[in-house]
């Protein structure tokens, strides 16, 4: 079980390494989208400081959405997805390996770049640390929930747009509490509640999302 998990993880990472442009595209998308807001809203730092955490979180959310359709789509069309089922190992474990790899190459870079964009919005250093922290907790949840949508729409026409419709409602709590934590901290409020919600959604989505994804994949393969 563990060796199968590792071989899936290694394969995904090697593939991402061969296709660096995909990773770079997502990252540039994040940078550009987040930089559009100061241009549109105006350069006033007090305004930017308030909208900053929200903008960065929405940017991270859109990046996650942008990268999602790649999680399973190419594996579905070239037959690799069948191999996951034919391995006889629990599909949900292999699914976690794929999502972990996906998060490492699309989610983690965004988390690392986020403080740079936070500086553009004039966020103080404590907020930047908190921003990285909430993104570290929240972006894996986005990848896990998003993969449910990606698996449900495998091989469906208009899959990418459909995935967004299916998944965005489920992103809302993560967005509210992720960005909310940073804003609350900026206002000198307690953030225990926000962090608890993020941790709870991480635990619950790690436990349940792979099951939903595994059954969605089996349905798509039939």
């Amino acid at each position: 079980m563990f060796s199968a998990f590792l071989s899936v993880l290694r394969k995904e990472l090697l593939l991402a390494f061969r296709q660096k442009t995909d990773v770079v595209t997502v990252l540039f998308f994040f940078l550009i989208v987040s930089s559009l807001f100061p241009l549109a809203v105006g350069p006033e730092l007090s305004t930017l400081k308030i909208i900053g955490p929200g903008v960065i979180w929405v940017g991270a959310l859109l990046c996650s959405l942008l990268a999602l359709h790649r999680v399973f789509e190419s594996d579905f069309s070239d037959g690799s997805l069948e191999h996951l089922v034919l391995s006889g190992e629990p599909l949900s474990i292999l699914v976690i390996a794929k999502i972990a790899a996906h998060w490492l190459v699309t989610g983690l870079p965004v988390v690392i770049v986020a403080p740079l964009i936070g500086l553009q919005f004039g966020l103080p250093s404590t907020s930047l640390i908190l921003l990285v922290g909430t993104l570290l907790l929240g972006t894996p949840v986005l990848s896990l929930i998003g993969s449910i949508g990606a698996a449900l729409t495998l091989g469906v026409r208009g899959g990418a747009a459909l995935t967004s419709i299916l998944i965005l409602p489920f992103y809302v709590p993560v967005l509210i509490f992720g960005a909310g934590a940073v804003v609350a901290d900026l206002q000198g409020l307690s953030i225990d509640g926000h962090i608890s919600v993020l941790l709870a959604s991480l635990c619950i989505s790690v436990a349940l999302a792979p099951l939903a994804i595994a059954s969605a994949i089996k349905i798509a393969l039939e």
Partner: protein
């Protein structure tokens, strides 16, 4: 009579027609009765005046929006686990009515909020989670519509519906869990209703009317779905003359 035979579309199809007619008639009677109580019998409210009367539409619609989602997920799950066609069709038939109820609840809520709270819309937990419910219904219907193979559509949308079930308790309990602008529940299982009797009667009659309407319209819809999906099964052409 074998009760289980009605789990097959073939036997359910004619039964659904008879039931739909009965439920439609009941819905009409109850609506007239409920609206009569609501607008002529129930007194003016001591704090909200006449504007509270929107409660006779708003509360039943909001209840139905959540109940229909639960029922829809239940049938979808049965369809997924037991592989029974009719239950998936029922889930499919319920979704548009659920979306309509959610929409009505949001819309009448806005019209109620403006005169009482002083705002069409606020981003509090009850309102936001009800809005998400509308999006869930839309997502469910969009997923169904874009998958050609009905069997796959049944099962994929069932998974989506089940994932969305977490939202229903959040909506219902949001007014208890958080300090929301939206008031708490007037009717609950644990305490006696905090409403005047005639107001409560009006609301419950309207809720019953909404139930009847939802059942009737879903039955009509399920008949259309059966017609579409079982078009090549011989029994449909035979029974068409009869029903």
């Amino acid at each position: 009579m074998n009760f289980w035979q009605y789990s097959s579309p073939q036997y359910f199809y004619p039964l659904a027609k008879k039931m739909a007619i009965i439920f439609f008639v009941l819905a009409c009677i109850l609506t007239v009765w409920g609206l009569y109580i609501g607008f002529f019998v129930a007194p003016t409210d001591f704090q909200q005046g006449e504007s509270y009367r929107i409660i006779f539409i708003h509360v039943p619609a909001a209840w139905m929006s959540m109940i229909i989602y639960l029922v829809m997920s239940f049938w979808a799950a049965i369809g997924l686990i037991m592989n029974t066609r009719l239950s998936s069709m029922l889930a499919q038939a319920l979704a548009p009515t659920g979306a309509l109820m959610t929409f009505i609840a949001l819309w009448t809520g806005a019209f109620w909020g403006r005169p009482t709270w002083g705002a069409w819309w606020v981003w509090d937990a009850r309102l936001t989670s009800e809005l998400i419910l509308l999006f869930l219904y839309i997502g469910y219907m969009a997923l169904r519509a874009s998958i050609e193979d009905p069997r796959r559509a049944d099962r994929a949308s069932a998974i989506l519906a089940l994932v969305g079930v977490v939202n229903v308790p959040i909506i219902y309990f949001s007014v208890k869990w958080w300090n929301t602008l939206h008031q708490g529940a007037s009717v609950s299982f644990t305490k006696s209703p905090s409403m005047a009797t005639s107001m409560l009667t009006g609301m419950l009659v309207m809720a019953l009317a909404f139930w009847m309407y939802s059942i009737a319209v879903s039955l009509v819809r399920v008949r259309r779905i059966i017609r579409d999906r079982e078009a090549n099964a011989g029994w449909l052409n035979e029974s068409r003359g009869a029903s």
